[in-house]
Structures are given as C-alpha cells and as structure tokens.
C-alpha cells in the first residue's frame, strides 16, 4: 500500500448510525461505524450474521430497505477532486443514480435473484453502460463481449445472448462482476460474492477480483464471514459485532495478532486445514443478542470471558494499540494485551 494521506481516501464513513423501524420498535443496527478507505486498497468487513456488515454496504449506496435510514453520521465519497456526501443525496435522485453503478459497483451474493431471468445477460450488462454513457447499442455490445472475455467467460459472443438460468453459479457471478465493473467504477462493494460457490470456483473469482484491484487500481470492499478468505485478499480488515466495528487494522496486524476477545474467539472457532485436530474448537458461549435487547456498554460483554462490570457501564471507545490498529475493548492493558484468564474459561 502506498502511504495514504487523508486526501487519498476514496470513501470515509464518519460515525454512521443506521436505524430500522420494525413495527413499533426502532432497532439501532449500525452504531457509530467509522471506516476510512484509501484509494486502491482492499478492505474486508467480517462478522457473523446480524452484525451489520451488509447494512453498511447498503447504507453506502443508499439501498437500505424502506424501513431503514441513516440517522446520523457522514458518508463521504471522493469523486475526482471533489467530495460528495452520499447520505445527503436524494435516494433515487439523479446524482445518486449517476454514482450508483457507475462510480460505485456492487456485487451481491445471490446471483440468481440479482439477474432478471427474462432478459439475456448481455443486455443486462449493457444496460448499465447505456444508462451512464452516451454510446450506441452496438458499441455497448462490443464492450460487454470484450469484458466477458477478460473475465474468463468462454465463448462470449454466444454467452451474450444466453439467459441467466443457462449459466452455472460461478459463471453467473462473473456476469455480476461484469455488471459491477463495466462502467469502470472506482469502488466496488462485494457482499459475500463467493459464499454460495464451491471452493475451487471461489478461488477463481477471488483471483479475478484481486487482479482487478492490482491491474486496474480499483478499490474493493469485500463483505464476508470467512476469516481465511480475508487473510488471502485483504489489505485492511474491519471486524464487526452487533452493529459496531470492534477491531480495525492491516490484515497482518488483525489476523496474526487479534486483540479484541471477539476477534480471537471468531478465529479460534474456525477449523483450519493446518490446525492441530486435538485442540478443541473454541466456541463463543451463547449467541449474538438481538439488536432490540442491547442496552449500555460493550455489545460483546454478555458472551465475553474477559468481561467485568465496567464493560457494561458505558460505550467503549476505539483505542489504538499499534499505529493503524484500533480495538474497542477496555480490558487491554497498556501494552494492548488482554489479561490472563484465571480458572477455566
């Protein structure tokens, strides 16, 4: 990574809060999420279901469900030399529509429901080009076929005319990547793009995304729950738990030397091909609480073996343990280490 000064940030989230109205309740789904994403970097957002990682992506591109809204905070997107406040734009206004798809590309997990089954895939990819650029249909077609070829879709001329159901899962995901990148966006947000795919196909898709980052200098935000995948592709990683970023840093810092009890637990609970089988997988007691139940203090306190009374008293702030490595935990000592647990954990 190049030294990224403040100006190099392509996206800057500042204390973003998202609330959802559910019947009579208001659920606080994102809590003060701050993320700074340097241009050309690869950020992974990890966490378990319900931690708010997908909502973060939706909030950035203003595609939150109708009952959700960014209640406070700023989402700053730098476009050339000017900075746009995404959250101030009208959701389906012209400015937002010009950014969504053209400047920020999106890839979703479920390809079959993201593609229209009644239209040929080539047309669906070209649609985005025609929407954003004043070019002819033939020209769009040529560019789509060219991109298909680059993305490793065999026989692209024939595939242009095919329907989504005629593609395999891996090929459909390549089409999704084509839709996300055809307009040459600066930023691509991929929400669990390979979760539904087999590992051999996942390896192909990840190689493809990584190439796009390196050769075309694109910025990626990858949302995933797979820690090992993070270690392979990411430059930076943000670990989320119940709507809050609990740990953030360069991938080497966070994965080799996790500090937050939740990050540690998350990593110890994944079976690894290189790990010793005799070591029992670590489990996190209990389950993620519902966002409706949360009161004060650290969200993880109820399941954390290190929790003390102070953890439940007030909101825990992010503290820096190393340059660029921030952790939201008050149990770390001045060296940034957790205390040794006495007695059985």
């Amino acid at each position: 990574m190049s030294q990224s000064t403040k100006k190099d940030l392509i996206l800057d989230l500042k204390s973003v809060n998202v609330k959802f109205k559910v019947e009579d309740d208001t659920l606080h789904i994102l809590r003060d999420v701050s993320l700074s994403i340097p241009r050309g970097s690869f950020l992974c957002v990890v966490g378990e279901s319900g931690c708010g990682k997908s909502v973060t992506a939706q909030a950035i591109v203003q595609l939150l469900p109708d009952n959700g809204e960014v209640s406070s905070g700023d989402i700053l997107f730098s476009q050339g030399d000017k900075v746009v406040e995404l959250n101030k734009l009208e959701k389906f206004g012209k400015q937002m529509r010009d950014i969504r798809g053209a400047k920020i590309g999106m890839i979703f997990q479920d390809t079959l429901s993201s593609l229209n089954p009644a239209h040929k895939v080539g047309r669906q990819v070209a649609e985005s080009l025609l929407q954003h650029f004043p070019i002819s249909k033939d020209e769009a077609r040529t560019r789509v076929i060219e991109l298909f070829r680059k993305l490793g879709i065999p026989d692209p001329e024939r595939r242009y005319e095919a329907y989504p159901h005629e593609f395999s899962g891996g090929m459909r995901q390549r089409v999704m990547i084509a839709i996300a990148t055809i307009c040459e966006p600066d930023l691509v947000i991929a929400d669990e793009p390979t979760t539904a795919l087999d590992v051999t196909i996942q390896a192909q898709i990840m190689t493809l995304l990584k190439d796009l980052q390196k050769s075309a200098g694109k910025t990626f935000i990858l949302i995933t729950h797979n820690m090992a995948l993070v270690s392979e592709v990411a430059d930076h990683v943000a670990v989320m738990y119940l709507g809050r970023v609990v740990e953030y840093g360069a991938v080497d810092q966070v994965l080799r030397d996790p500090r937050h009890p939740y990050t540690k637990a998350l990593m110890a609970s994944v079976p690894n091909l290189d790990a010793d089988k005799k070591v029992e997988l670590q489990t996190v007691d209990g389950q993620t609480p519902s966002p409706a139940e949360v009161t004060v203090g650290c969200e993880f306190a109820g399941r954390c073996p290190y929790a003390i009374a102070a953890c439940r008293e007030k909101t825990i702030e992010m503290t820096q343990v190393n340059p660029g490595h921030d952790v939201r935990c008050i149990r770390l000592d001045s060296n940034g280490k957790l205390p040794v647990l006495t007695g059985g954990a």
């Binding site: 378990e48 279901s49 395999s168 899962g169 891996g170 090929m171 087999d198 590992v199 051999t200 196909i201 996942q202 390896a203 192909q204 990840m206 190689t207 729950h225 797979n226 820690m227 090992a228 995948l229 270690s231 392979e232 994965l255 637990a265 998350l266 609970s269 994944v270 079976p271 690894n272 091909l273 290189d274 089988k277 029992e280 997988l281 670590q282 489990t283 996190v284 389950q287 993620t288």
Partner: protein, 335 residues
Amino acid sequence: MNSTRTPLYKVGQIKKHFPVLGGILRRTKGYVKALDGVDLEVFRGETIAVIGESGCGKTTLGRMLALLDKPTDGDLSFDFGQGLQDVTSLRGVDQMRFRKKVQMIFQDPYTSFNPRQRVGAAMDEVLRVHGVKDEAERTARILEACEMVNIRPEYLQRYPHEFSGGQRQRLAIARCLATKPELIIADEIVSALDVSIQAQIVNLLLKIQKETGLSFIFVTHDVAVARYVGHRVAVMYLGNVVEILPADSLPEAAEHPYTIALLSAVPSMNPTAKEQRVVLQGEVPSPIDMPSGCAFSTRCPAVMDICRTERPVLKISNISKGDHQVACHLNKGAK
C-alpha cells in the same frame, strides 16, 4: 480400517441414475449419473466425512444410505447384529427397524420440524412411531437426549420458531439420538450456521461420538470441517469416490489430483498455501454427458492418455498403503 473387522454398513457399487425427460412426449433423453458406482464401508464408532463440490453426488449418497431414495443398481447391506444383511429389499416392519438404526439430520432444521408442533411433541412422535409404547420411557429417553445436546428440558414445551438456528440443529440431533440409532447421516448440518455456532455443533458431535460410540456419515462441502470431525474422509467427484484417506493425514497425504486441487483452493491463513495453489480451470462437467474414462480427466493437470479411455477404480494407495485408497491411474501397480 482393519480388514478383518466387519463393517456396520457396506455399500457396493451403488448407482443412481435420474432420467432426464424431454420433448412433448416426455421421453427419457438421457440420464444424470448422480452416483456412478460408489463403494464404501462404514465401521462401528467411525465417522466418515464425505466431501465434494456441488453436484458431486454427496447428498444423493446420503439419501441413498438412509433409504430415502432407491438406488438404480448396487448393494446396500447393514449389520443388525447377525452379520451383513441386504437392506434395499426391506419393506414394512423390517424397514422401520432399519430406519430406527439409521437416522438422518438435514441442513435446515427449521423445515425438518413442524412449525405448529411443540418440539417435545415432535420428539415424542418419532419414538411412538418407532414402537416405544411406554410413555415414561419415551420421556426418559427424550430427557436423556436433551441433556446430551445441552437443551434445557423446559424448552421442550416451545415451538421451533422460538429457537435459534444452532439450538434447532441441536434439537434435531437430540431427536435422532432418542431413537438410539447406530448410524447417523448428517447432511451439511453446520453449513447454514455462523462459525461460532458451527464450532458448538462440531464439538457436540465429537462428544456424542466419544460417549455413545455411534457411527456418523458427515456430508459437507467444507474440507476443514471434514478433516476435523472425520476419522476417514471420502472425496467425491461427479458421482464417484475418487479417494478415501485417514482424516489425520490431510492435507499432506492427498494423492488424487482432484483432492489436491480441492484442498489448495480452500482459503488459508497460512501464507505458503497461496504459493502452492493449483487453480483448476473450467468447471465440473455436466453429469449428463460424463467424460469417458476418468471423470476428472477434462480438468486434471496430470492427465495422461489412459485417463481418457479407461476409468480408474479405487485401489489401495501405493505410497501410504493401509487405509488410503485412490482411484487414479497415477497410483501405479496398485492392487
């Protein structure tokens, strides 16, 4: 496994071909060869983890073993206590006796419980169906099973939607255990769960096996989980078992080019793994028009002429011997 021991369940050259219908007359146009000659032996107290990518036939194999589908061809024999006995022709009472011994757990525990029935009643029903007439005994068995999976007895009065995914999966396991089976076939039971919950279920299965000596067939797409829970791992590709090897010897001992490629595609925290990665080109061929010869020959980085014409059979590995079997022409001179 020791060859002098008799297996609990023996699968011989089992095949399942689903017809593909086409045209206005819905004539059979061809067959999807979901299973194309699989041999497998399951011993008492053993967990076999079956791995493979989507469409490799691992789920079909599980369903076949549980007699939920009839094989097109091949033998299935189970040891009820008096030696191996054919089970494909079992009907009525005899088949019920088999189902009591061999239970299945599915990926989605929500759809395997009736949403309008309390979970306790659902468990009770299974026992009644299996002929446990004494109510006190049924209750005792249910409570025992719940204790094994750490579900509090008062939860039995609740409905399925009141539980989390992990709890529901534990209940599904308890429902199985209550019938006192000898073999549990678990089809992707941790795939839909978050990793921390997945770890709870995996640890639970290992504990149950230690305590009860049950056999498990654990179908999964996750190689790391398979290695963790299995004694032996069977790798499937396009309806064939291409390699069976002791789980402890993974990943180093893998010999079949497909197993090696599959293992190397698994994302790893280990930086050297990236350098040794074999990225497979293309995709799994359609099981309707299977390649002649070795099913993997179209994508294999080590393909030879013989691979395209002659199908390799599962033989004891030349390198690691013993429990390790490979179906590959590279495994030369093997018996």
